[in-house]
Structure formats: structure tokens, C-alpha cells
């Protein structure tokens, strides 16, 4: 169990993590559509949770008992959540570059998830627009992003024992929704050389692909 405090005057969330057991996830990964979640299914799952909670509250109200918690999210809030999750989980290609104290998860058409940690502590970095906490929770690598307007995005990466599959679990939460939307994406290894073309993203010319 590791407890971390940030250098701040604000109350600090304590993260409880298992002892770090970093695994080497280096390589190129492409999404395995067959195994990965369907966003609609996940949205339905959240909707069911909300209906169950609504039914429970209704029952408590009939019995004259109170219940904690604010109003449940409305349908529109769930749609917002789903649309956000769709954008956030859009990348289908990953490249993991891993060194002793730095791991970089490059994502197609998005920013990389970068963590500088030697495994002994959670790394906290603050930017203009948000805060990132990252580190190893056992053999899982996690990134917790807290952005403006209370938007929270968590990514957790773990690798199969055989090392041939990667699981990326993304959780998206807004202040308006009580239940985060969780999307699991499976990735399998691939050889970018075998694609027959190579793409790279440049700042001045956008994405450029060339054939071999």
C-alpha cells in the first residue's frame, strides 16, 4: 500500500495502490475489436445501474425512509458521457516506449500518456489545464487526469501473462453523472512494418503516410 501526498495546501486524495510490479509493455499494439467493449453496451450498463438506484430510492421513499445522494443523472447526462467517452477512447493504435523511469504510451491521433516514475511513488504533474497522477498499481499502469469542469478520466493498462495482449480500461466521469462510464479495450501486438505503409504525425504538415 502506498500513500502519496501532493505538495499543495488543498485536501489531498489518498491513492491506495499495491506495491509496484512494473511489467514491460513495450511495443506496438492494435485494437482487438472482437474483444473490446461496445460503447452502447457500456452505456446501457450505466443506464441499468441508474434505473436500479432509482427503483431503490422509490422503495425507500414509499417506506418513509430517506436516502443519501443528490439527484440521479438524467438521460442527457448519460449521452454527454457517452459522447465524451467515444472521443477519449478513439485511438486504436498504441505504441508503448518504456525505459527505467519513464513510460510513454503513444496513442494514434491523440496525446501520449507519459509517466515519469521509478515505481516507488505516484507521480503528480500539473499543467495549465489539469492534473495528472500516474504510477504502478501492482502490475497495472494507471493515469488519472483531473481536468477543468470536474472532468475526470482514468486509464489503466495491464498486460496478459503471455505478454501478447494489453487491456486498456478507461473510465470517464463528470460532476453530472454519479456512475462513471467504463470502457475496456483490448489490444494485440502488431508489426507496423507489415502494414506496407508508415505514418507519422508532424506538427507542421499533419499526419503523413508513405508507402515502402
Amino acid at each position: 500500500m502506498a500513500l502519496i501526498s501532493a505538495c499543495s495546501n488543498d485536501p489531498v486524495k489518498e491513492e491506495i495502490t499495491r506495491r509496484a510490479s512494473p511489467v514491460d509493455m513495450s511495443g506496438h499494439w492494435e485494437m482487438d475489436y472482437a474483444k473490446s467493449d461496445n460503447l452502447q453496451d457500456q452505456l446501457n450498463s450505466v443506464a441499468r445501474q441508474i434505473r436500479r438506484e432509482a427503483a431503490r430510492r422509490e422503495q425507500l421513499a414509499k417506506e418513509g425512509r430517506g436516502f443519501p445522494g443528490g439527484p440521479l443523472p438524467a438521460r442527457r447526462d448519460l449521452i454527454t458521457l457517452a459522447r465524451l467517452a467515444e472521443i477519449i477512447t478513439e485511438p486504436t493504435l498504441l505504441e508503448v516506449i518504456q525505459a527505467a523511469e519513464r513510460i510513454r504510451v503513444k496513442r494514434e491521433n491523440s496525446f501520449a500518456l507519459v509517466c515519469e516514475t521509478d515505481g516507488s511513488a505516484i507521480s503528480i504533474t500539473m499543467d495549465l489545464l489539469g492534473e495528472q497522477r500516474c504510477g504502478w498499481d501492482g502490475a497495472q499502469l494507471f493515469f488519472m487526469l483531473t481536468l477543468q469542469e470536474g472532468l475526470e478520466v482514468t486509464h489503466r493498462l495491464s498486460q496478459s501473462n503471455e505478454g501478447d495482449a494489453l487491456l486498456l480500461v478507461t473510465s470517464v466521469e463528470t460532476p453530472d453523472t454519479k456512475f462513471p462510464l467504463v470502457v475496456s479495450q483490448y489490444f494485440k501486438r502488431y508489426d507496423p512494418e507489415s502494414l506496407g505503409y508508415q505514418c507519422e504525425r508532424t506538427l507542421t504538415r499533419g499526419r503523413i503516410c508513405t508507402t515502402r
Binding site: V114, M126, L203
Partner: protein, 365 residues
Amino acid sequence: MGLSTLSPTMLADVVAETQRHSVSNIPTLVANPESRDVSLRSELDVGIIVSSEVPIQSGTKAEASFRKTEAQLLAGKQRLVFDESGRWGVVRLFPEHSVIPQLMLDLVVRQSDGRELLIEASLTAVNGDVLLNQIYLDRSGMDRFEGTEPIPHVGRASDSEGPFADLFHRIHTDAARVVFESARSKTYLGTISFLRYAQQLVPTAFSGYLNSRDGEWTLLREPSEKDPMYARVAKLRDYELLFVDTIDEQLGATLRDIDVAYTLWLTASKEQLDWLERRRARGLQVESFTDDSAFARHQAVYAAYRSLKIHEQELFELVLDLESESRSTALNVENTVVKLEGTLEQQYREWRETLLKIIQLENTF
């Protein structure tokens, strides 16, 4: 004890001390555009050193490396302004403070976020006179970014102005003004520079030629160029400048690669700061937004974060990749190739130690 009871020498010391430590902590806000008229014509050589004291927000090594490289980029832009004016002797970037140039311009980057650039600049003559010590603040407007082409190379300042060009021009015009007012000749300062350099290598060299008191040097005697020690010191000084010029060339190539990404990062950073400010200004009206705007708000938050991160990471990774390349400098000195490894500062120190050994060896014989 009042000033009137001091001897003339002590009074002069007090005045010099007061002038030396007279620092204005109120930043000079750079105009847009700044006047670039400089009436000075000087043959004085200028050395520029730079450091960064911009707080490392993320605490990551990547950002720390970037800030160090940014400082070198900015120093390069300042040097270009001096060079382009054609009103000085040789203008060089030095890895550390040096007594070789007659004037040393020390830049400290205090803040840089795309919207504001805050630099502290101090200009010191080799005799110890602090001619300028000022903090400069430049703010960029959108019009300063629009039409700014990505810089393919760090070339003429007039070709690739960048959003904070006025700050570098202001530092230049202020430096020119104070140098003009101080009216020190190149010969006088050049001799002091030579003697100070000699005494750094061999402390007993040219003993009695310089008077040093409270950080100020005064010339008492001039050395003879026929003195064998003079020739040795001059040769070693040339070797040191050879190193500085070689490093400058290497660094120039590196900085050219980075400058494009750096300019794009400046733009992205400014855009995000402006966006944050607009959101804060509208903060009280959030409840009046329609339902559709909830998604738009969150989507905008994520898009802003993603955009800034993409630009930042491209720049940081470029800096780290270039840093991790094997950095070595090879210098051909008297038919011997000397190879130096390590960071810029390490190589500079190693080179100076080599020069020290050379002169010690020559003194032995």
C-alpha cells in the same frame, strides 16, 4: 559617519557600490513595436550567457530539459539582434561567464508561457562596471502570432521575428545606450580582459598590472606584446574561443531543429491561456447554458487539454531526443585532435582544464 567624512577614494567606492547594486525590480514593459534606432557604433565584443528560472510546473525532467533548451533558444535570438545591428565587435554565446569579451550580457528567463516573456538582463563590463540590470516584460497579442511563419532556421532576426522580438530589441537598445554613456574604449577594456584571463590561468601572471577592489578592476600597467607570457596567454585564449565557436555552431544546428516546434508550442500555450481566461470570465453564467452545452463544455475541456499536450509533447520529446544524442566536440589544436564529451558545461570546463595544463606545462619548461 556621513558621506562628507569619507575620503575621496572611499567616497568613490561607495558611489560605485551603490551603482553596482542599483537594481530595478519593476519590469520594463516592452512596447509593441519597439524603436530599433541605435546610434552607437562600438567595437566592443559581447558575450551572452543565459539561464532559466522558470518554475517547472509539471516537475518532470522533460520540462526541465525543455526550459534549459528554451533559454538557449532565446539567447540565440538575442545574439541575432546584436549581430544584425552591425554595431558591435564579435558577439558570442558562452556556456559560462567569461572574462574574454569586454561586455558580458547575462540573461535570466523568469517566465515564458506564450503570452508573456519575462527576462532579467544585466550587462557588465569586464572591469566590473554594471552598466545595465533590468527586468523586461513582453506580452504577445494575437496579431503578433498571426502571419508568423514557422521558423525554418534561426536566421536573421528581421526574417523570423517571432512574438517577442521587441523584447530582444529593447534589451539591445538599452545596452547600446548605456555603453554609449559609459564611453569606455575597447583598448582599455580589452587589456583588462586579457590580464584577467591570464590571471585566471596563472594567478601570478602579470602581477601588479591590475588593481582589484570590491569587484572592480583598474588597469595600472599595460603588458608588452613581446612578453613570452603574453604570446602564450593569447594563444590559449584563441583556443578557448575556438571551443566556444565550435560549440556555437553545433548548438545552432540543434536549435534550428527545435525552433519550429517551439514556436508552435508558444502559440498553443497562449491559446490555452486565453481560453482559460475567457472561461473564467464567463464562469458565473454557466447555469444559463443549455443542456447541449454540457457536452460542448466538457468536450472543449478535453480538446484543449489534448491540443496543448500534443504540442508540448512534440517539443519535449524533440528536446530529449536531441539531448540523448551522443554529444561530443572534436577540436584540432596544434595537429592534435582533442575530443570532449558530456554536456556543454562539462565540455567547457574540461577544455579550460586542458588549457590550464598546457600553460602549466609550458611554464615548467
